[in-house]
C-alpha cells in the first residue's frame, strides 16, 4: 500500500512543529499517539505536555512495579528497607508532580476551550479526553502504590511479631551479655530499656497504627507519638548486638508516618517530610535526655497519658452503655406489663358473660314467681275447692269421732 501521502503529511506537521518548539523536543514527541489530525500551535504545545506526562506515568508505574516486587518478598533478613523507603519517597514525589502537571494541562485545555471556535471543537474534545485518560492512569498508579504500602505494613507487622517471638526467648542471654558490653552510662541503660521496650512494643506499635487508622480527628492527639516511638528504636540502633533489629525498628517508625498520610487521604510530601524532621528531632531529644530520664520512663509517661485519655472516654462510654441497658430493661418490663393486662382481659370478659347470665336467670325467675303469685291471688275457684276439701275431711273426721 502506498502510504507516502501520510508520510509527507507527517513530515509537514513535524516541520510545522519544529518552527514553534525548540529543537530538542521533537525527538520523543514523534512517537506520541495523540498526534493525528489537524495540528495548530497550541495543540502541538498541549500534545508535547501530554506526551511528557504519559512518559512519566509509565516510568512511575515501572518504579511501582519494582516496589511491589520488593514488598512482596517474604525474606526475614534480606528486606532492604533503605531501598524501599527511597523508592516510596521517589514515587510519592513523582505522583504529586504528575498531579500538578495534569492539573496545569487541564487548565490549559480549559483556557483554550474558552476561546474556541467551531473548527477547533474536535481538538478540544480530544484534548479533554486525553486529560481524562492521563488522570485515570495516574489514579490507577496511585491505587497500586497504596496497595503496595499496605502490603508493606502487613509484612512489617508480621516480621515484627516473629522477631519478638525469637528475641523474647533469647532475651535472658542478651541481658546477661549487655552489661559486659556497656560502653558508658548510656549504653548501660540500654539492655534494661531494651528488655522493657521489647516487652512493650506490641501494644505501643499497635496503638499508633491503630490510632492512625481511625478518623482524621483522631490523628491530632496521636501525632506526638511517632516522634516518641523512634526513641526506643534509635536506642536499638546504638547497640551493636541487636544490629539486626534496627532495620525493622526504623521501618516501623516510617510505617506509621505512611499510614498517617494515607489516612489523611492526600498525597502530600509535606507530612512525610515533617514527620521525618520530627524523627530526627526526637532522636536529638533522646540523646539529650539520656543522662536524666532514660527512654523507659518517657515511654511509660507517654503511655500513661494515652491510657488516661482513653480511660476517661471509656468511663463515659461504659456509663452511657449502662444507661442504655437500663432503658432496654425498662422497655422489657413495660412490655411484660402490657402482656399481663392483655391476658387479664379474657378473664374480665368471662366475668361479664357470667354476670349477664345471672341477670337473665334472675329476671326469669322473678317472672315465674310473679305469675305464681298472680295465680294464687286471682284463682278463687281453686281456693274454694281446696277449702271445701278440708271442711269435708274435717266433717268426716268429726262424724267418725
Amino acid at each position: 500500500m502506498d502510504r507516502t501521502a501520510e508520510f509527507k503529511a507527517a513530515v509537514n506537521s513535524l516541520v510545522n512543529r519544529g518552527h514553534i518548539q525548540t529543537r530538542h523536543q521533537p525527538n520523543y514527541s514523534s512517537n506520541h499517539p495523540a498526534r493525528r489530525g489537524k495540528e495548530a500551535a497550541a495543540y502541538a504545545d498541549f500534545s508535547r505536555l501530554a506526551s511528557a506526562i504519559g512518559k512519566e506515568i509509565i516510568e512511575t508505574s515501572t518504579k511501582l512495579d519494582k516496589l511491589t516486587k520488593l514488598v512482596k518478598r517474604k525474606a526475614l533478613f534480606d528486606d532492604r528497607p533503605v531501598e524501599i523507603s527511597e523508592l516510596t519517597y521517589v514515587i510519592k514525589q513523582d505522583l504529586s508532580r504528575l498531579n500538578g502537571q495534569i492539573l496545569a494541562l487541564q487548565q490549559h485545555v480549559r483556557a483554550n476551550a474558552a476561546k474556541a471556535n467551531r473548527s477547533t471543537r474536535q481538538m478540544d474534545e480530544h484534548s479533554t479526553n486525553l486529560v481524562i485518560i492521563l488522570q485515570s492512569k495516574l489514579a490507577n498508579t496511585s491505587m497500586g502504590f497504596k496497595e503496595a504500602l499496605e502490603i508493606r505494613t502487613e509484612s512489617v507487622q508480621a516480621t515484627k511479631k516473629r522477631h519478638d517471638h525469637l528475641l523474647q526467648s533469647s532475651q535472658v542471654q542478651t541481658g546477661a551479655i549487655g552489661p559486659g558490653q556497656g560502653q558508658g552510662q548510656g549504653q548501660g541503660h540500654s539492655p534494661k530499656a531494651q528488655s522493657q521496650s521489647l516487652a512493650l512494643p506490641p501494644s505501643s506499635i499497635l496503638s499508633p497504627l491503630r490510632n492512625t487508622t481511625r478518623s482524621p480527628i483522631g490523628l491530632v492527639p496521636t501525632t506526638p507519638t511517632p516522634s516518641q516511638l523512634p526513641n526506643p528504636y534509635s536506642n536499638h540502633s546504638n547497640i551493636p548486638q541487636s544490629g539486626r533489629s534496627s532495620p525493622y525498628m526504623q521501618q516501623q517508625s516510617s510505617v506509621p508516618s505512611h499510614q498517617q498520610q494515607y489516612s489523611n487521604g492526600s498525597s502530600d510530601i509535606d507530612p512525610y517530610s515533617s514527620s521525618v524532621h520530627r524523627r530526627k528531632g526526637g532522636r536529638s531529644e533522646y540523646e539529650d535526655d539520656n543522662e536524666s530520664a532514660g527512654p523507659a520512663s518517657m515511654l511509660f509517661q507517654q503511655q500513661q497519658q494515652q491510657q488516661q485519655a482513653e480511660q476517661y472516654v471509656q468511663n463515659r462510654s461504659t456509663a452511657i452503655e449502662a444507661v442504655e441497658s437500663t432503658l432496654q430493661e425498662l422497655g422489657g418490663i413495660f412490655q411484660q406489663l402490657a402482656q399481663m393486662v392483655a391476658e387479664q382481659r379474657d378473664t374480665v370478659q368471662r366475668i361479664e358473660a357470667n354476670a349477664e347470665d345471672i341477670e337473665l336467670n334472675i329476671n326469669e325467675a322473678q317472672n315465674q314467681l310473679l305469675r305464681y303469685y298472680r295465680n294464687i291471688s286471682s284463682d278463687r275457684w281453686l281456693m274454694i275447692k281446696v277449702f271445701l276439701t278440708i271442711i269435708f275431711v274435717f266433717l268426716v273426721m268429726s262424724l267418725v269421732g
Partner: protein, 196 residues
C-alpha cells in the same frame, strides 16, 4: 465523696496563676483551713503547668486527688476531690466550667482575678458535692432506676389484680348456676302438681 475546691488556672504563662477559685473546706478544722487552702492552690497551679493542652489528668497526693483538664486556649480547670469521687463526673464538670468560662471571657487580657467574676462556681461546688445530683448521666441513671422500681411494684399489683379477677370469675360462675336453679324452681311452682 466530696469536692474540696475548684480552680480555673491560666497555664500559658509560667508560673501558672489561678484566675478564679472556690473552696469548700468545711470538713476541716477551723485553724487548718487556710493552710490547706494554700496547699491546694499551689498544687492546682503546679499540675496545671505540667499539663499539655487538650489533656486530662488525675493526680493523687496524700489523700486528695486533683483532676485537671487543660484547654488549648491556655486555661486549665482543676478540681480537687477526695479519692472516692468518680473522675468521670469531675471531668464533665470541668468541661462545663471551662466552656462557660471561655465563652464568657474569650479575651486573653481579661484573665485576671479582678476582672473575671464567676459566681456560678459556688453553686456548682454545692450541687456537685453529690455526684449523682450534678452529673447528667448519673441523674438519668438514677431516675431510670427509680422508674424501674416503680414498674416492679406495678407489676406486682397487676398480678394481685389477676388473682382477684380469678376469684371474681369463680364467684360469678357460682352465682349464675344458683340463679338458674332458682329459676327452675320458680318455674316448677307454676306447673300442675299443687298438693304433692
Amino acid at each position: 465523696m466530696k469536692i474540696y475546691a475548684i480552680y480555673v488556672v491560666r497555664n500559658n504563662i509560667k508560673p501558672a496563676k489561678a484566675i478564679v477559685d472556690v473552696k469548700d473546706l468545711a470538713s476541716f478544722g477551723f485553724f487548718q483551713r487556710s493552710s490547706i487552702g494554700e496547699f491546694m492552690t499551689f498544687m492546682s497551679q503546679t499540675i496545671a503547668e505540667k499539663t499539655q493542652p487538650g489533656q486530662r489528668q488525675s493526680i493523687e497526693e496524700s489523700n486528695y486527688v486533683g483532676h485537671v483538664y487543660a484547654r488549648a486556649e491556655g486555661v486549665a480547670g482543676v478540681v480537687i476531690t477526695d479519692k472516692e469521687y468518680p473522675p468521670r463526673v469531675a471531668f464533665s464538670l470541668l468541661n462545663k466550667i471551662l466552656d462557660e468560662f471561655t465563652t464568657r471571657f474569650p479575651n486573653n487580657q481579661l484573665w485576671t482575678p479582678e476582672q473575671c467574676s464567676y459566681p456560678e462556681l459556688q453553686q456548682y461546688i454545692v450541687t456537685y458535692q453529690d455526684p449523682k445530683q450534678g452529673d447528667t448521666i448519673m441523674k438519668v441513671q438514677r431516675e431510670l432506676d427509680e422508674t424501674k422500681i416503680i414498674l416492679h411494684k406495678t407489676i406486682e399489683s397487676v398480678l394481685e389484680r389477676g388473682e382477684k379477677m380469678e376469684s371474681l370469675v369463680e364467684r360469678s360462675d357460682v352465682l349464675s348456676s344458683q340463679s338458674k336453679m332458682f329459676y327452675k324452681t320458680a318455674k316448677k311452682q307454676n306447673s300442675c302438681c299443687v298438693i304433692c
